[in-house]
Amino acid sequence: MAAIRVRDLRKSYGHFEAVRGIDFDVAEGEVFGFLGPNGAGKTTTVEILEGYRQRSAGEVEVLGHDPAKGERVLRERIGVVLQETGVERFLKVAEVLELYCGYYPHPRPVDELLALTGLEAKRDEIVKKLSGGQRRRLDLALGLAGDPELVFLDEPTTGFDPTARREAWDVIRNLRSLGKTIFLTTHYMDEAQVLADRVAVISGGRIVAEGPPNRLAGRDNATEIRFSLPDGVAAGRMPDLGPATVAVEGAGVVVRAHDPTPALHTLTGWALDQGVVLDGLTVARPSLEDVYLELTADAVGNTG
């Protein structure tokens, strides 16, 4: 059974249709990345799944329940980590966790929550005195208080320094290895590429791409071979590289080929023969970020 099932979901605000008929499934135990620029309908969709907003049309099932009904049994099984949600400022970290654990029938022990999010040393700190990164980790711990089967993570690492981000990624990987389903919204494409089993990109209220991040990145896109030629060696001296395009971009040369192996073979063979050094030679497929920017380019600047 799918953890989340969405069919032809629509949401209008007055005359503006923010979500224009989207479909997707999230399998149990999967990390699903939900990407899109601001104003694309991303937050609206997530908040409909979490039960904060009512849809205008379509079908939505979360763990077999309709989230619009606001049933307690569903809230007991999901964890929600929102952006910019506050915590009682004058309680200690362990006290807030104890309070929230008390809301659930089968909570995860406070000590485990502290360990999972690296907050052991801060257990007796007043929430008001935590740093931004520590607050975000507390958000995560509170979202996991009920030991949920499905966790919604909304921009979980925004504002983290690189070390803290890697640590948060480890937490998310831990959750995945515990068999939890994770619905991840993020602005960071590297985060989606590293963590998500599958991603969907929403733009202008529609899903414009869906699939495993690597396949999405490789989709219809040629591999790029980049290098610089030494002074005095013109690009025109290069041999014919078969069905590939060659472009000079600034000081470098970019070869785009759907099958890079023969092109690379010919290129490096020629370079060795001629004693030409291919400075900074790289072979890479476009990143998820490149693909994302291309997919969402039309929508950027349209809405707030």
Binding site: Y13, E50, G51, Y52, R53, R72, V73, R75, E76, I78, V80, L82, E84, T85, G86, V87, E88, R89, F90, L91, E95, E98, L99, Y100, G102, Y103, Y104, P105, I126, L142, A145, G146
Partner: protein, 258 residues
């Protein structure tokens, strides 16, 4: 059900912890009424009120301060606290958990009532010990029923008003402005027996006057029986019903417009 009662009790316990750790809340809600009591009772220590059967000023003032403490804890503090919780997204987070609405609200309201009763005991204790107030045991039933209705009424109004406050910054101004003019015309800090008739009639429309008058009635040595003032109790009951309807309609969990 029992589990939900435990949730409400835990919520109350943690609300209390948070209240006492927040200097602004503790000073304004708790210290202010006691400070008023000490200052005004000392200034008027020998005074008697001729219009009220020559009772001492303190016998008039102690129930007024009890009313003021109740309004501070149940209305002012609750309304500002809930607006801050909403504005900071605490209420939205809570909404995403399985906690039943009634249990969460019981914790909030319960915390205000605990503060009210602490103030009651301290005010009466100080009045009796330091200023020689004669505490009447015969009218305790009337005193407590008035307090219970007053607490329900002002907690409901506090929750309702938090729904009107646009954000945490505006809340103290709106909440205090809605209360202070009425406090002064309600005979809480000084008797209004010689005030123009239209003013006292106006004041009687609002629950502040009803609460203060009901409590003063229970403290008045001339009061017969158990101390139930029917008019004041009915007035508070009507405001409790109106306040509850307003609270249900106006209370918001999320500051966002949609």
């Amino acid at each position: 059900m029992n589990a939900d009662l435990a949730i409400a009790a835990r919520q109350l316990r943690f609300e209390q912890k948070a209240f006492w750790r927040n200097p602004a809340g503790a000073v304004f809600t708790f210290a202010f009424p006691l400070l008023f009591l000490i200052i005004f009772s000392t200034l008027n220590s020998g005074a008697r009120i001729a219009d009220r059967g020559n009772i001492t000023f303190v016998t008039f003032f102690v129930p007024g301060i009890i009313a003021f403490g109740l309004i501070s804890a149940c209305y002012t503090n609750l309304a500002i606290r809930m607006t801050i919780s909403r504005d900071f997204g605490i209420l939205k987070r809570v909404r995403g958990t399985p906690v039943p609405t009634w249990a969460y609200m019981a914790g909030q309201v319960g915390s205000s009532i605990v503060i009210t009763f602490m103030l009651l005991f301290l005010t009466v204790g100080l009045g009796v010990v330091a200023f020689g107030v004669d505490f009447r045991t015969g009218t305790v039933a009337g005193l407590f029923l008035t307090l219970a209705l007053g607490a329900s009424c002002f907690c409901a109004l506090g929750l309702a008003v938090s729904g009107i406050c646009p954000n945490a910054d505006a809340a103290p101004a709106i909440v205090n402005f809605s209360i202070f003019p009425l406090l002064f015309i309600s005979g809480i800090f000084f008797p209004l027996d010689t005030a123009p008739h239209w003013l006292s009639s106006l004041a009687k429309l609002f629950p502040m006057e009803r609460l203060a008058d009901g409590l003063q009635y229970a403290f008045d040595p001339r009061t017969p029986g158990l101390g139930f003032n029917g008019g004041d109790l009915l007035g508070l009951l009507a405001w409790t019903v109106a306040g509850s309807i307003l609270a249900v309609r106006l209370f918001r969990w999320d500051s966002a417009k949609t």
